[in-house]
């Protein structure tokens, strides 16, 4: 008896069996003609044309699947199945996929420790071109990075340190530090860094009301390189904030009614402006330093009493300022204020309005609410407000956020975390999402560099042996009389001690006592001249007292020392000095260094070196310049001990006898 059901079952099983057979044979067949097999055949053919028979015999036979297993990183990279010449320099310039790895990357990142995908991304386990995601593929979250963005992966291991040979990453990180992104966001790798806008406790006394409005509307309309972003405030919000801020009046400026303003001598003020070297820190007319605010339109911004008080005692009026306290008379301050207010402004701003006693309590309260909601206190200290903490989201693991969960709005970009960060940094409100983040107005390239730096912040934790970090240096604030002078003259705005302080000066002070001669320091501080002819930023003219200069020099020559430099036998023979002079000519030192009027002006002028530098330092510097200053233009000639000593003898002999260095100004 035939059951129709069992018959159709038989047929079904037969069909299924055939299907399985077909699939099985297909698998066998496709494995036999797999991409990587044909690739390996091509490689062996190429190898015979590139290598001579001797090398061929020595070459290890390649065949079968090859892979690099990195248990610590939880990766299996089979890229080397096809990239067979990757470690073989004889394949330099061979067609892909056989070319050897460009550059010297594999020497510093051996493939058995780093594999391929930790740097390049892509699907390491795949063995054909498409599945390895050489190009972006659907459903592949991390296809291979193009060289343009590959530095993001350098940053995964090289955290918070300068990554060698990754300039875009370094620039991105520098931009994050300059812009103070970590004031609002917690960003791994930037812990412990702080960023401050000016404290606002007494802003009611400081600025003109109409300026404040312009600034709040769009800071860049007043100051092109403003670090503050545009908060896209409505007119009502601006009115509120303006009222709230102008009601902040804690530190009363000095009373300048006793000053005879009509007698202000602007020509003297102008001369002072040059003499004090204000432009080392402040930009005017497109030139000058960037440490202090640009002064091009300062007359539109600040009130006269405030400016006068600030010049008299900057640290009382604005305790966190980087500005040093000059030793000036009241008349000089008057002249300087008058020049700044009269000459550096957009047009006739009219008479100065009296300090407003804003009493519109409702506007003040509304402004206070805006101040809190937009997280202004993340950057600006204001006594009456509690610190809001970080108002923005934590950026830990931002590079691993699932692109499918991110909102891209109408932007026609590939949905990746990189592109999301980029667009967000560029136009925070453009992604069809309400955003509290201000628009910083970054150039596209800068936004890309920031995105690249942030794209290196991954969720996955690496084994510690892979991670390169540098612990943040402990703050070193010198105490005592020296400390007071350092505070008064704000030395640490430009110089650093123990990694703490500014970097405007390329000379950290950690071993300055072993570098410079005591007498030179005393004279130089009282009348700082230019050591490097071509450098525009100069030490300001402090009008420092000679006791103060001596205190500083004493401290330097007893505390800020380096034993390795100090222990140097400085008894030179005349023969050594003669040999040094020959070497000076032989090595072509004059290409960069001036001596008198002859020679280049890349490095410092050298004709008074003996008065300026200690022999130990000259020798140490000549022997190993990059140790003391990475990236320096001083070449390392690989001098022998004897040659370094001879050059030191010669340079130390220069200028001896004259106790004073060349004084002030351009030569």
């Amino acid at each position: 008896m035939k059951d129709p059901a069992s018959r159709s079952l038989h047929v079904a099983f037969a069909a299924l069996g055939l299907a399985f057979l077909a699939i099985f044979s297909w698998v066998l067949f496709s494995e036999g003609v797999a991409d990587w097999r044909t690739t390996q055949t091509r490689f062996r053919a190429l190898e015979t044309t590139i290598k001579n028979p001797h090398q061929l015999a020595a070459a290890a036979s390649v065949g079968g699947l090859r892979q690099i297993w990195l248990p610590e990183l939880d990766r299996v990279d089979r890229c080397v199945t096809c990239h067979l010449g990757i470690e073989d320099p004889t394949f330099a310039g061979a067609p892909q996929p056989f070319s050897s790895h460009p550059g010297t990357w594999l020497a510093t990142h051996p493939s058995d420790r780093f594999g391929c995908t930790p740097c390049h991304d892509g699907q390491g386990q795949a063995t054909d071109y498409r599945n390895a995601a050489h190009q972006p593929q659907p459903f592949v979250t991390r296809p291979m990075r193009p060289l343009e963005t590959i530095e993001a992966n350098c940053g995964v291991c090289h955290r918070a340190v300068d990554a060698p040979d990754a300039p875009r990453l370094d620039e991105g990180r520098a931009l994050i530090v300059q812009s103070g992104c970590f004031s609002c966001h917690e960003i791994p790798g930037f812990d412990g860094l702080t960023f401050h806008g000016p404290a606002l406790d007494s802003i009611g006394f400081k600025v003109r009301p109409e300026w404040l409005r312009i600034w709040l509307k769009d800071p860049k309309s007043y100051l092109e390189r403003s670090k503050m972003g545009n908060f896209r405030l409505s007119n009502d919000e601006i009115t509120g904030l303006q009222a709230f801020l102008l009601s902040q009046r804690v530190i009363v400026p000095l009373d300048s009614t006793t000053i005879d303003w009509p007698k202000a001598d602007t020509s003297n003020g102008r001369a002072l402006f040059g003499e004090l070297r204000c432009v080392s820190c402040h930009t005017v007319n497109g030139r000058g330093g960037t440490m202090g605010p640009e002064l091009r339109r300062i007359g539109d911004k600040v009130r006269r009493d405030w400016l006068f008080s600030f010049l008299k005692d900057p640290h009382r009026v604005q305790p966190e300022t980087a500005m040093l306290q000059y030793r000036l008379t009241d008349d000089q301050r008057r002249d300087l204020s008058a020049v700044l207010l009269d000459e550096y402004r957009a047009g006739d701003t009219g008479p100065e309005p009296p300090p407003v006693a804003y009493q519109d309590a409702r506007a003040v309260a509304a402004g206070r609410a805006v101040f809190e909601r937009r997280g202004c206190s993340s950057c600006h200290r204001l006594g009456s407000m509690k610190q809001a903490g970080r108002i923005g989201p934590n950026l830990a693991g931002i590079a691993d956020r699932n692109p499918d969960e991110l909102v891209f709005g109408n932007a026609n970009v590939r949905h990746t975390a990189d592109n999301y960060i980029f667009l967000k940094v560029l136009h925070p409100d453009a992604l069809l999402q309400p955003s509290l983040m201000p628009t910083f107005g970054f150039a596209r390239i800068d936004a890309a560099r920031i995105a690249l730096a942030l794209a290196s912040i991954r969720k996955t934790d690496l084994p510690s042996s892979y991670v390169r970090t540098r612990p943040p240096p402990p703050p070193n604030r010198p105490a005592g009389q020296f400390g007071e002078l350092v505070t008064r003259y704000r030395c640490l705005s430009c110089h650093s001690i123990g990694g703490f302080g500014g970097d405007l000066s390329t000379v950290p002070l950690d071993r300055i006592g072993s570098q410079l001669k005591h007498d030179y320091v005393v004279t130089y501080l009282q009348n700082p001249g230019a050591v490097r002819v071509s450098v525009e930023a100069r030490m300001p003219l402090f009008h420092m007292l000679s006791e103060e200069a001596t205190t500083i020099a004493d401290y330097m020559s007893t505390v800020l020392l380096d034993d390795a430099v100090d222990r140097y036998d400085a008894m030179f023979t005349a023969a050594e000095a003669r040999r040094g002079q020959e070497l000076y000519a032989q090595l072509g030192c004059a290409a960069c260094h001036q001596m008198g009027t002859a020679g280049g002006y890349v490095g410092p002028e050298l004709s008074h070196t003996g008065d300026r530098l200690t022999p130990g330092w000259i020798a140490a510097w000549l022997t190993s310049p990059t140790t003391y200053k990475p990236g320096t233009l001083q070449p390392d000639y690989g001098l022998s001990r004897t040659d370094a000593r001879a050059l030191t003898a010669y340079l130390s002999s220069l200028g001896t006898g004259e106790r004073s260095p060349r004084a002030g100004g351009r030569p």
């Binding site: 010297t104 193009p146 026609n412 596209r444 390239i445 890309a448 290409a591 890349v602 070449p635």
Partner: protein, 143 residues
């Protein structure tokens, strides 16, 4: 029963088809904004990655004398005798091995004046390779 099987087969067949259809939906591929921004900045004069890196290094270490574009017109060039050569027209600059030697060991190593110093101890081999690539790019573009 057979109907059931047929239906199952149908589902199995249709499912992958619809998935592939979903993938191919987008007509113009979307751009990669970060890569485009970096390219727009760095691929001036069609420089490759290595050449672009070399350009940075050149600006830092070489341009003071050799000039930004390698014409030998840097701000310090007037102080030098002999003056720095114009790299864009130099025959030697086409020779990678020569360039590598002159950068790493200084011009004295090639029997010329000692005015161009050796950078072999300050720069990594990688960095010197980048510089070589950029110098060769300068001869290629001949701006």
């Amino acid at each position: 029963m057979s109907r059931l099987l047929r239906r199952a087969c149908g589902v199995i067949l249709v499912l992958p088809l619809s998935l592939t259809a979903g993938c191919g939906r987008r007509a113009t591929p979307p751009s990669d904004a970060v890569v485009d921004a970096i390219r727009a900045e760095e691929r001036v004069g069609n420089l490759s990655y290595s050449e672009g890196q070399g350009k940075h290094l050149f600006a830092q270490y070489c341009a003071t004398c050799h000039g930004d574009e390698g014409h030998g017109d840097g701000q310090n060039a007037s102080n030098l005798n002999p003056p720095p050569p114009d790299i864009t027209t130099s025959k030697n600059a086409r020779d990678a091995a020569y360039l590598r030697r002159v950068i790493a060991q200084g011009s004295a190593a090639t029997g010329r004046s000692p005015l161009s110093p050796p950078w072999g101890r300050s720069l990594s081999a990688q960095q010197i390779d980048y510089l070589v690539a950029y110098c060769q790019a300068l001869t290629r573009t001949k701006r």
